[in-house]
């Protein structure tokens, strides 16, 4: 990571016309509509979650890349941001996984021992 080149000369450039921006806006709207449809479509839960995740990740990526023109910035910015993005996602995944099995442990959802001495299980 020595000297960063000043500019971004991948031959790509951010959208230059209002038209392009509006087009992207329309795409985003359409995807949102599709998401809604999917949500009501009654497909199996696993599939539904998968499809929704992919679609919202797509929207997320489009906004970041185009509206926030990260795609056209110095790559360093992308690396800096992705630190947080990846770590944040990892923590969501890790925590939900850690609490997944946990449900069985929770003492009946009932305030196990809300009042001292009222320990729910193991009454003789």
């Amino acid at each position: 990571m020595t000297h960063m080149p000043q500019a971004e000369s991948h031959g790509e450039h951010p959208p230059t016309t209002i038209r392009e921006y509006v087009l992207i806006g329309i795409v985003l709207t359409v995807v949102t509509a599709v998401e809604l449809w999917v949500s009501y479509s009654g497909m199996s839960f696993g599939l539904l979650v998968g499809v929704l995740m992919v679609l919202s990740a797509f929207k997320f990526a489009v906004v970041v890349a185009m509206f926030m023109h990260l795609r056209f910035e110095n790559g360093l910015l992308w690396r800096l941001f992705s630190f947080g993005l990846i770590l944040g996602t990892a923590i969501i995944l890790a925590l939900t996984a850690l609490f997944w099995n946990d449900r069985t442990d929770i003492v009946g959802g009932v305030p196990a021992n809300a009042a001292p001495g009222a320990a729910a299980p193991a009454k003789h």
Binding site: H3, T32, S39, F67, M68, L76, G88, T96
Partner: protein
């Protein structure tokens, strides 16, 4: 930076940096990385407390997906107007910039209005902050998102006000609007995630 191609930045020497990226822009991106973890923790909490509510109302009994879809659309459109404001700033089209800033602010306010409506109607239906785990984690997650929107509205308003001043936003105008835009879009993409997780995925 895109603006550079259209308006040579005046203080080239002042703003010289090692990587060529403006300090402020770099800080904004790192800050947004940090925000990913802020919302990551809130979203984790929401997910962990799914199905942990001891009493109703539960999400599927109360969430109003059509209304929220409308507010989602509003926020999405505000991203579009925001990007156009940045476009205006970068291309020296000040009228467009101001108009689009104003539009973004108004759309942001509409979104907040939707949220206020949603919160009050939920409260009427018996879901308070402390009613159950769903209520707590829902209000805190969407509430902090709403706070971010409100801060964004303030941020953009101050940009608009500053650009009304005689000196305008100064030589860094495009950058200032760009930064505000980055923040605003981020708040939008967080909502994309929240909308999917809370509203679209049925429980």
């Amino acid at each position: 930076m895109a603006a550079a191609t259209h308006e040579p930045p005046p203080h080239v020497t002042e703003h010289h940096t090692t990587t060529g990226i403006d300090n402020r822009k770099m800080m904004m991106w790192i800050f947004l990385a940090s925000e990913c973890l802020f919302f990551g923790a809130l979203i984790s909490t929401y997910l962990i407390f799914q199905g942990e509510s001891l009493v109703g109302p539960l999400p599927h009994e109360i969430l109003n997906i059509p209304v929220t879809s409308a507010s989602t659309f509003v926020l999405l459109m505000s991203s579009l107007t925001m990007v156009l404001a940045v476009y205006g700033a970068q291309h020296g089209r000040l009228g467009m910039m101001k108009l689009m800033l104003l539009a973004t602010i108004l759309l942001g306010l509409v979104f907040l209005g939707f949220q206020a409506y949603e919160f009050t109607s939920f409260v009427h239906e018996g879901l308070g902050l402390t009613t159950n785990q769903f209520g707590s984690s829902f209000y805190v997650l969407t509430g902090f998102h709403g706070t971010h929107v409100a801060v964004g509205v303030l941020y953009l308003t101050s940009m608009l006000l500053a650009s009304q001043r005689r000196t305008g936003l100064g030589a860094d105008r495009a950058l200032h609007i760009d930064l505000a835009g980055l923040y605003w879009h981020f708040v939008d993409i967080v909502w994309i995630v929240i909308f999917t997780i809370i509203y679209l995925i049925p429980h």
